[in-house]
């Protein structure tokens, strides 16, 4: 298909762009296959380049022959375009509509994008499963890398290589897979070096109403326990929801069949509820009425902060089981692709200092989200402004990032990266020039040939020039477990995302710059002192030598 067919009016002059807290810009609006561009004729004025894929929804209004298009973006920004001429406006609106809702993945911008930078390190190769297994091997020999899912037939949403207990053969894995939703049998998620405890993740067991059991599944997870030790199964659903799942063939582990495991139920919401929560939250944040009570009730009614608290609490609980109780943990919900991943990845941030570095955090997202089969394409198809009925959209990943931000706020010196990295990941998960977040699982990405046809986000982020702005100047590595507070008073609204376009951040930005400057100046002074000391020491030795000679 040619994009040109969809573009009826490629160019309109005299368009006025309104953005909150910024001066209006008048200029020429151009539509290309992937971008909406507004360029003023003056130099030094900012241009607007907006990916069609970033557009969540549009509204049009007419006053006489002046048309107005309100563009609502997936990054939660809202802009307004005043377009002279009714026909032009209608054409532009329908083109935007068509171009922003293209169904075919292969028409997406990442397949057309050519980087203007030299790819030094190919991000597609940066986080191979073999590599993390090598790290694991250096700590324990209890695990092996299985190729049972080589052709994605055992579990379509898993990667081809999986870390499983050494004593369990591939045949048992296949049997266990048939007992778990979507074939997602228990695999290793995290090994806690400090005490050798592990965290595994899976999907719900298919016990059904008549209490089916699977010896191989039991054997598989028991193999992860040390002799005489017990473990915890963290089910991210409430007991009631888990019970209901039985009727649809799902269920949970029965105590009788898993005597060495204690089950804990938590209440993380399902994805469609989360999408609703996001929509309500963004609506509350965009409410321009200045009434205090309305704001607080709307914030409350959105339930967003409750969701943050619940997810964070569950992750802390998993981490607590591992680190404090010295027990291994199995995490699952229903499908094992959403709340399960929120919990396992957050628990690792709490437990593992490596995940708090930029590189380690990227590896975590690669491992626990992309390769673990979080369906990014489905979940991030639409954002908070979508008019359409949500299908499988849900801000699961955004909630994870929000939780990371909460921990970052409470431990501002323990992360190598700053808030900018989290915001950037949010943006790219929803729309991007890079291929990283396309597709729903490893198998799909392979079919789309993303690693050959698109550029990886990591190729770009890990360039030294780019990395700079994601660095946290306050970072001081520490090897400790970091336990965040989950009291409601300690959890804040993530303003950097949700109020980002509704406030002027100039004062805050300047204050941040000042802080960066103070820290940089400190380094500079320290270097100066060192070099002066060296110089002095040298002079003193020389002096002494002269004196000795005399």
């Amino acid at each position: 298909m040619e994009f040109a067919e969809l573009i009826k009016t490629p160019r309109v002059d005299g368009v006025v762009l309104h953005r909150p807290f910024m001066p209006t810009v008048e200029g020429t609006l151009c539509l290309t296959g992937h971008h909406l561009i507004l360029s003023s004729r003056q130099d030094n004025t900012e241009e607007l380049w907006l990916l069609h894929a970033n557009i969540d929804s549009t509204e049009k209004r007419f006053v006489g022959s002046l048309g107005t298009i309100i563009v609502k973006c997936k990054d939660l920004r809202v802009i307004q375009l005043d377009i002279p001429g009714m026909e032009e406006c209608l054409n532009i609106a329908s083109s935007i509509e068509a171009l922003s809702t293209l169904d075919s993945v292969s028409l997406m911008y990442p397949f057309f994008y050519r980087p203007l930078f030299e790819v030094i390190e190919d991000g597609w190769q940066s986080f191979a499963p073999e590599e993390s297994f090598r790290d694991l091997e250096s700590m324990t020999d209890e695990w092996r890398l299985s190729e049972v899912n080589k052709d994605f037939s055992v579990c379509p949403s898993y990667p081809s290589l999986l870390t499983v207990p050494k004593d369990i053969d591939d045949e048992s894995l296949c049997k266990a897979a048939s007992f778990r939703h979507g074939g997602r049998f228990p695999v290793l998620s995290y090994y806690h070096k400090k005490n050798g405890m592990v965290m595994m993740r899976a999907a719900q067991p298919l016990t059904g109403t008549n209490g089916r059991r699977c010896k191989e599944d039991e054997k598989l997870i028991n193999a992860t326990l040390c002799a005489g030790k017990r473990g915890y199964i963290i089910d991210t659903r409430t007991i009631a929801v888990a019970q209901q799942a039985k009727a649809r063939g799902g269920g949970f582990e029965q105590e009788a069949n898993y005597p060495q495991w204690r089950r804990i139920h938590k209440a993380i919401e399902r994805s469609n509820v989360l999408q609703d929560s996001l929509i309500k939250l963004v609506e509350a944040c965009n409410d321009q009425s200045h009434s205090m009570d309305r704001w607080l009730s709307k914030l409350e009614a959105s339930n967003w902060q409750s969701n943050v608290k619940e997810i964070l609490t569950t992750a802390c609980l998993a981490a607590q089981c591992i680190d404090r109780e010295g027990a291994s943990v199995l995490v699952h919900g229903t499908e094992g692709t959403d709340s399960t991943l929120q919990v396992t990845s957050l628990a690792q941030i709490i437990l593992d200092p490596a995940c708090r570095t930029i590189r380690g955090f990227e590896a975590l997202i690669e491992r626990e989200w992309l390769q673990a089969g979080h369906p990014f394409h489905q979940r991030c198809a639409q954002s908070a402004y979508s008019n359409g009925k949500p299908r499988s959209e849900a801000p699961v990943f955004l909630l994870f990032l929000d939780c990371v931000w909460q921990i970052l706020r409470q431990f501002p010196c323990s992360f190598q990266f700053n808030e900018n990295l989290l915001i950037m990941l949010f943006e790219h998960a929803y729309t991007s020039q890079f291929g990283t977040f396309l597709g729903n699982c490893v198998a799909e990405r392979g079919k789309l040939q993303l690693s050959q046809k698109t550029v990886s986000l990591w190729s770009w982020v890990n360039r030294p020039q780019e990395l700079e702005r994601f660095l946290n100047p306050l970072y001081e590595p520490n090897n400790l477990v970091i336990w965040p507070s989950v009291a409601p008073q300690s959890l804040l609204l993530w303003e950097g995302v949700f109020l980002r376009w509704n406030r002027s951040t100039k004062c805050l930005d300047e204050a941040y710059q000042e802080m960066v400057h103070i820290i940089e100046y400190n380094k500079e002074l320290q270097n100066k002192v060192n070099s002066l000391r060296r110089q002095l020491a040298q002079l003193e030795t020389e002096d002494k030598m002269v004196a000795d000679l005399k």
């Binding site: 920004r77 200045h290 808030e419 900018n420 336990w483 941040y512 002066l532």
Partner: protein, 643 residues
């Protein structure tokens, strides 16, 4: 001391407010403090509670482990002891009941507190703040405003200070006449003068207008205020009460100005609620945030139902209205409420702070409090329950003012020389009765009490520890670019002040503090600059010439580029510099100021954080959890300075 029957109790258990943790220690009762010393611990924590800080003591019913004693403090600390023997508990309880209700001013801590200073130092401390100098700084007296001696002997208004500034055209008969027409004789006087536009902020109490009464002198007085400002034809009269309250007052012979009787006034109601509503609101707020295992829903609903942030916003809105009228329109404004010492003080002080950068410095903030609160007779003794309590008079009016300032520091992190710990420390001492500044209800009463001779000034004490209260990112040049602060009043910018209301609930605080870190860096920078100088001097002795040290102000662009748009994804024409701008989003916000700087009682680092103190879930007792390391309470400087 005669009230203390049991000075020491051992084996007392201190329960944590929000978790199931507890520690054992010894309780000491002294004439001024209740002290808890943790036993059997390497880093034994000590809790010092000043009797004046105690708002209430409650003896709960006997349990198997002993007799629980619940102590609630005005600085929002809540401690829960369990005392093994009931008799000891009862002794402590009844002693405290007596000790926390001093019957005369002489019993207040300020009269026995001695920071080992001589009389001269004490005197110097009291001379730090000079209000005459402050009016001079504003440019008063001038050709339109003069100092009047009408209240020299407190004859016209006993709750006002001796020195008052009025328009030159306001003669003594007018003043006296006007004062008779105003509640408690509080006639309109100058409190802030905006020199740039010659606009004045005046304050007074409500007129005794009833349904129809009028007073020509009072009308003349307002006329005089209006005439003193050539920039504007009218004066704003801000009645800070809700209209309904003002109407109700008319029935009692009070009320508000009738626009028909006063020429050239613009009358405006603002709608800040009265002291009783505020007291109830804070009580509700504290109940909500004091709940154990509070859910997010209950927290947000409770926050809303308490109305606390709504009241804070109402005060802020009023102050912004005032500042706009003065700075934008150049109009003079007369502010009053009922008696003109609560809401009026809030609005005048906050409005001045928005208009004048001086009040955003440490010294200037002290001056502001001294002027609008202390000298103009905010009834600290009654509102803060210092003596002879009338529970109906207690109200967190001053606390609200401090909170409004905090909300501003959140929006303008570089505008204030001080950090939130300065505000919290002032709050601490408004209730501590350790220094003389806030004792009593009026200047006259303070003179009778001879506070300047018998007690010490808080301001000297705070200045001596100034480095603890500095805001590391404060930029004096911010005042030049933002002489008038224009805060956003969107509801989402009003936040719960956790560090005030949960000051002592350590488990809720961030475990690492940006504020503390940056302060440390700044301190280190200062030292390193010294070291560099010293090294250079040494090097010069060897005949090495060195370049002068680079000035700290960087050759950096001070003003940032316009607000960047994000996600200009893949825009091939963008230069890298522009892309750089895209993601420069804030990270500073509220994180900036989380913690006490240089708190002496142990580092609040990550080691202190623990899984169990957060109570994530149902693991208790399952496999026998390990003991947590001792928790150090956040007591910024309090224990240290009170002993």
């Amino acid at each position: 001391m005669e009230h203390i029957r049991t000075p020491k109790v051992e084996q007392v258990k201190l329960l944590d407010r929000f978790s199931n943790k507890s520690v054992i220690g010894t309780l000491h009762l002294t004439a001024t403090h209740l002290i808890f010393v943790e036993s059997n611990s390497t880093s034994a924590q000590e809790i010092w509670i000043l009797h004046h800080h105690i708002a209430s003591v409650e003896k709960l019913s006997l349990t198997t482990s002993g007799c629980p004693l619940l102590i609630q403090c005005r600085n929002f600390r809540l401690v829960h002891f369990v005392i093994p023997r009931e008799r000891d508990c009862h002794d402590i309880y009844s002693s405290l009941l007596r000790l926390l209700r001093p019957v005369s001013y002489d019993e207040l801590y300020a009269f026995s507190y001695n920071p080992k200073q001589n009389d001269q130092q004490r005197e110097e401390g009291w001379q730090l703040i000079d209000l005459a100098a402050e009016f001079e700084r504003m440019g008063v007296p001038c050709d339109q405003w003069q100092l009047t001696d009408v209240n020299r002997e407190y004859k016209v208004c006993e709750t006002y200070p001796r020195d008052l500034y009025v328009p030159i055209t306001a003669s003594k008969p007018i003043i006296v006449g006007s004062s008779r027409f105003r509640s408690k004789g509080r006639f309109p006087v100058l409190t802030y003068f905006y020199q740039e536009k010659k606009a004045a902020v005046c304050r007074c109490s409500q007129p005794l207008s009833g349904f129809s009464a009028r007073c020509l002198e009072d009308e003349h007085m307002l006329q005089a205020i209006s005439k003193a400002n050539h920039n504007s034809r009218y004066v704003y009269v801000m009645d800070t009460r809700p209209k309904l309250n003002a109407l109700a007052n008319r029935a009692a012979g009070k009320g508000y100005e009738n626009e028909d009787n006063y020429s050239n006034i613009r009358f405006q109601f603002v709608g800040i609620e009265n002291i009783h509503v505020m007291r109830g609101s804070l009580q509700k707020l504290l109940e909500v945030v004091g709940t154990r295992s509070l859910s997010m829903t209950d927290y947000l609903v409770g926050l809303e139902n308490s109305g606390w942030l709504r009241h804070i916003k109402a005060i802020m809105d009023a102050a912004i209205f005032l500042a706009k009228a003065v700075t934008v329109e150049g109009a003079s404004v007369l502010v009053h409420c009922s008696d003109g010492w609560d809401r009026t003080a809030q609005v005048c002080a906050l409005g001045s702070l928005l208009m004048d950068p001086y009040y955003r410095t440490i010294k200037g903030f002290m001056v502001l409090i001294e002027k609008d609160w202390i000298s103009f007779g905010h009834k600290f003794a009654d509102r803060c329950d210092q003596l002879d309590p009338d529970p109906k008079e207690v109200s967190p009016i001053f606390t609200q003012f401090l909170e409004c300032v905090w909300q501003l520091t959140e929006q303008f992190p570089q505008a204030f020389e001080f950090s939130e710990w300065f505000l919290i420390q002032i709050h601490e001492h408004v209730h501590s009765c350790q220094f003389g500044n806030f004792l009593g209800n009026s200047q006259r009463q303070r003179e009778v009490l001879q506070l300047k001779e018998r007690t010490y000034s808080l301001w000297a004490h705070l200045l001596s520890e100034k480095q603890n209260y500095l805001n590391p990112v404060y930029s004096p040049s911010f005042a030049e670019s933002h002489p008038v602060l224009e805060p956003s009043t969107q509801a989402c910018h009003f936040k719960f002040w956790r560090n005030m209301y949960h000051q002592y609930d350590r488990s809720m605080h961030p475990r690492q503090s940006i504020l503390k870190q940056v302060l440390t860096f700044k301190e280190s920078n200062r030292e390193l600059e010294g070291t560099v100088q010293a090294l250079k001097t040494k090097l010069q002795k060897f005949g090495v010439s060195t370049s002068p040290l680079k000035p700290q102000t960087p050759p950096r662009e001070r003003s940032l580029p316009p607000r960047p748009q994000s996600l200009i994804l893949g825009a091939p024409l963008l230069s890298r510099k522009e892309v750089q701008q895209e993601e420069d989003e804030e990270v500073f916000g509220e994180e900036a100021r989380e913690d006490a700087p240089a708190s002496t009682d142990g580092e609040r680092t990550v080691e202190g954080s623990s899984a169990t103190e957060n109570g994530y879930g149902e693991l208790t007792g399952s496999f026998g959890s390990k003991n947590e390391p001792a928790v150090v309470t956040l007591e910024f400087g309090v224990a240290r300075m009170t002993c």
